[in-house]
């Protein structure tokens, strides 16, 4: 039986909130990474950086307060590099990262639904099916901390929490000073109001959110997610891949045990994005006109599933939740997710 009060409801509720934030903030790391080179646009990446910094500071504070125990992912260089690259190329083909693809299903994008099916399938068969051997081989070579055997973090298991605190605080101050303050100032000269709370309902549910609001909301949500998820025995913050793999596993095997906190989280994201896009008048069932594009999105999804399981995390598990823990594995995976995305984006969108 699934525990309703500890697993189902908290996962679902946090998922719905996450879905609303993702949809309102159009938070997609695939776009964030790609825009840097294709459109020379930095808005979304600012959201990502702010969310990571807030999580980093929050996780450190909660760890010092004994509310959570930090649990960085292991460093398996070959797996992180190969998995990251394949995931990064996959999300370019699938037209969305793990979180982007998930929330767009809630907006009614059928191409993303197909990508999501590929993603769930790829993740499941890499976890426990025909592709699991490749995963095992790629993950064999692991580097742990000398002496303690702990998973490798940038400053070592003793100092990393302190550095998370320092980098978190300094980073947030830098973001406030260089990005948010100029934005507020320019708003002030434009209409004489730095904060305008009129039409607040319209601003929340009808307009797209500014990157600063989106980034802060996700960073803070991640803190609640860590506590809620740890209570179910999954000692980690947000994640997507295992959620969809578990979801598929449940339908195939019928095992209640497959229905983890993460499964309800990802289902919640779809529901949240659906609610939010309905209110904003942005829900529409639509699909790419070109049949080939749908096939490409499916293949992209498969690659994402494989890459994420091999690299032990997608852009949420590794980038959003793992980078704040300063896990070397998550940092390397993130670097190669970005390189993979850039490589294909260059081939597809920048040549000619």
């Amino acid at each position: 039986m699934v525990d309703i009060l500890v697993v189902l409801l908290p996962g679902l509720i946090l998922g719905i909130i996450f879905g609303i934030i993702l949809q309102r903030g159009r938070f997609c790391m695939n776009s964030a990474f790609r825009d840097i080179i294709v459109l020379k646009e930095f808005t979304l990446i600012k959201s990502v950086i702010l969310a990571i910094l807030i999580s980093m500071l929050g996780f450190a504070v909660m760890a010092f307060g004994n509310i959570i125990t930090l649990n960085p992912k292991p460093f398996a260089p070959v797996a992180n590099i190969v998995g990251g690259l394949i995931f990064g190329m996959g999300m370019t083909l699938a037209a969305g990262c793990a979180s982007g693809t998930t929330y767009r299903v809630g907006e009614g994008m059928m191409g993303s639904l197909v990508a999501l099916l590929g993603y769930s399938l790829g993740a499941y068969i890499t976890k426990s099916g025909a592709w699991s051997e490749a995963k095992t081989i790629l993950q064999t070579y692991k580097i742990s901390e000398v002496g303690t055997g702990a998973n490798l973090t940038v400053f070592g298991s003793e100092l990393t929490p302190i550095f998370m605190l320092i980098i978190g605080i300094v980073g947030i101050v830098v973001v406030l000073y260089f990005w948010i303050w100029p934005m507020l100032k320019s708003r002030k000269t434009a209409d004489n109001k730095m904060f305008d709370f009129s039409d607040i309902g319209k601003k929340i549910f009808k307009n797209g959110w500014s990157w600063a609001i989106t980034g802060s909301a996700i960073g803070i949500l991640a803190l609640f997610a860590y506590v809620s998820s740890a209570a179910t025995g999954r000692n980690y913050a947000l994640g997507i891949t295992s959620g969809w793999a578990g979801w598929l596993k449940y339908w195939i095997t019928g095992l209640d045990s497959a229905l983890s906190w993460e499964v309800f989280l990802v289902v919640g994201i779809v529901i949240g994005a659906f609610i939010s896009s309905m209110i904003a008048g942005e829900f529409k069932l639509r699909s790419p006109k070109d049949g080939k594009r749908i096939l490409i999105q499916f293949i992209g999804g498969l690659a994402m599933g494989f890459g994420a399981v091999v690299a032990m995390g997608c852009n949420i598990g590794n980038t959003l939740s793992g980078v704040p823990l300063l896990s070397v594995g998550s940092l390397v995976s993130t670097a190669f997710i970005i390189l993979g995305a850039w490589f294909l984006a260059y081939l597809l969108f920048m040549r000619k």
Partner: protein, 77 residues
């Protein structure tokens, strides 16, 4: 009403095709011409006007014409 010289239909297109296509289209068009872009993807509806503006073009209007459908009018610099 402004005279529209060309229409680019990006409905149904997935991220980032609307953005990339509009950018390429605008580059091909002549100065002073007006392009109408049809979009049904929220992120692009917000971002395309920004991108085109930063390229120096004049965005005449962004209008929400239906459920998740927008029309963008842009005058090429």
């Amino acid at each position: 009403m402004v005279d529209v010289n060309d229409i680019l239909d990006c409905r149904g297109e997935v991220c980032p095709y609307p953005d990339v296509k509009s950018k390429r289209k605008v580059k091909k068009m002549g100065s002073g011409e007006v392009l109408k872009i049809l979009i049904d993807y929220p992120l692009s509806a917000e971002r395309i006007p920004e991108t085109l503006k930063s390229m120096g073009n004049e965005v005449l209007s962004v209008e929400k014409v239906g459920n998740s459908e927008w029309e963008i009018l842009v005058k090429i610099k």
